[in-house]
Symmetry: C2
Subunit: 246 residues, 2 copies
């Protein structure tokens, strides 16, 4: 028995998120199906990030165990031949038998992309949230600064999240404007359910002038989901990097 | 009667090109339908660039005449409410009654985008041609240099093109690598049918080492479509800018 790790890129537009569920197709479900076709075994991959419906990834991670003697590095292209074109395995390697992608120290980076314009840009609309009101980028940067570090992010996660603790550490947030695109880049050890999208939705309220940058500090302290901004749409969010730390 | 000019952006993935045809939906057909819904008149827009099936545009131009007294600048958003999300009018203005977008001096710029990697990137795959073999960018740049200026581009257009002359002027070609993307940016006064895609296909042959840069000069001189490289896939091509010159 060997444990294999896959690096998986996907366009989440057509999927009900990562995790297998009774209704609708999922990334995990497509990987399990393609692995069964390839290896003839019933396989349930373990994913590192269970991304929401409509969220994209350049490098999510998944592991599975197999009895097969196929060369680990050959699995990526063999799987790609059995996957739809919106999912592409970028790498396949053997890892230690006890390696578990959710029980490691990790650094994950998400990007939330916003297209600013009078009208939406149809090209790349699947990967950006469209905003037609002008945004004050400097204020958004200032507001983002309050979120960096170790905090209780209870205000920035779905109200009924079933987790032991809502304390998380953000390594950094960068708000960057390039042409008509604004990118909010967030790095951390781990994220609560909907956390990046609620951060993006709150920073957008600041950019629109509905919240002052300093209010983001108060929102954190309130530990109440009602205080933060709305959850920004899934299409703007992409998991862009994933590092395992020692 | 007033003449209105539209600036139109579209994701061409789902369309059989710009021009109305008996089978399949087209950008022009969708614009005509939306204009009829909005203005109650039978309208046939005149497009500036009749892009091929699958080709994208940030700023194609179209004009039409209307009896309606709607404010010209209001037409863009009213049309967008009646168009599918992969077509978005960016601007609507009144122009002179004799203005014709194909009878003007223009500068058009197309970009042909290539994603280079071991495996395809599902994110943005609709807007890039995937190439997994390494490309020699310097050789592609050198080859591109031979195409700049006024030439007979007979080798770079479909063999049976019905045009008065195959002489065209290219103002410039730029080959630029950014991360895993290679962009071939071509500017000219006008282009023959499939010309940019055949240029891209030929430069790709140079990048792969199947043609020497100097051979591009010979291909031009041969005036024979058989001598040039294959027509690169439509998905990589986008009309990115359109200027009317005096």
């Amino acid at each position: 028995m060997r444990r294999i790790m896959l690096t998986v890129a996907y366009d989440g537009t057509a999927y009900n998120g990562w995790q297998v569920q009774p209704n609708g197709i999922t990334i995990e479900g497509e990987l399990n199906r393609a692995l069964k076709e390839l290896l003839g075994e019933d396989i349930s991959v373990i994913g590192a990030s269970r991304t929401d419906a409509g969220v994209h990834a350049l490098c999510n991670m998944a592991v599975f165990d197999t009895e097969s003697r196929i060369l680990p590095e050959k699995i990526a292209s063999a799987l790609n031949a059995r996957l739809p074109e919106d999912i592409r395995v970028q790498r396949s390697v053997e890892v230690a038998p006890d390696f578990h992608p959710r029980r490691c120290h990790t650094k994950k980076t998400y990007e939330y992309r916003i297209y600013m314009g009078k009208y939406e840009n149809p090209i790349g609309r699947q990967y950006a949230h469209f905003v037609y009101v002008p945004l004050d980028v400097e204020k958004m940067e200032k507001a983002a600064g309050y979120l960096v570090g170790e905090h209780d992010f209870k205000s920035f996660c779905v109200a009924k999240a079933q987790v032991l603790t809502t304390v998380r550490t953000l390594y950094g947030i960068e708000v960057k404007k390039e042409g008509n695109y604004l990118t909010i880049r967030v790095s951390g050890s781990g994220f609560l359910f909907n956390m990046v999208r609620i951060i993006a939705g709150t920073l957008l309220e600041v950019g629109k002038g509905k919240l002052a940058p300093e209010q983001v500090k108060e929102i954190l302290e309130a530990k109440d989901r009602q205080e933060a901004g709305p959850t920004a749409p899934a299409r703007g969010l992409t998991l862009v990097s994933f590092e395992f730390c020692e």
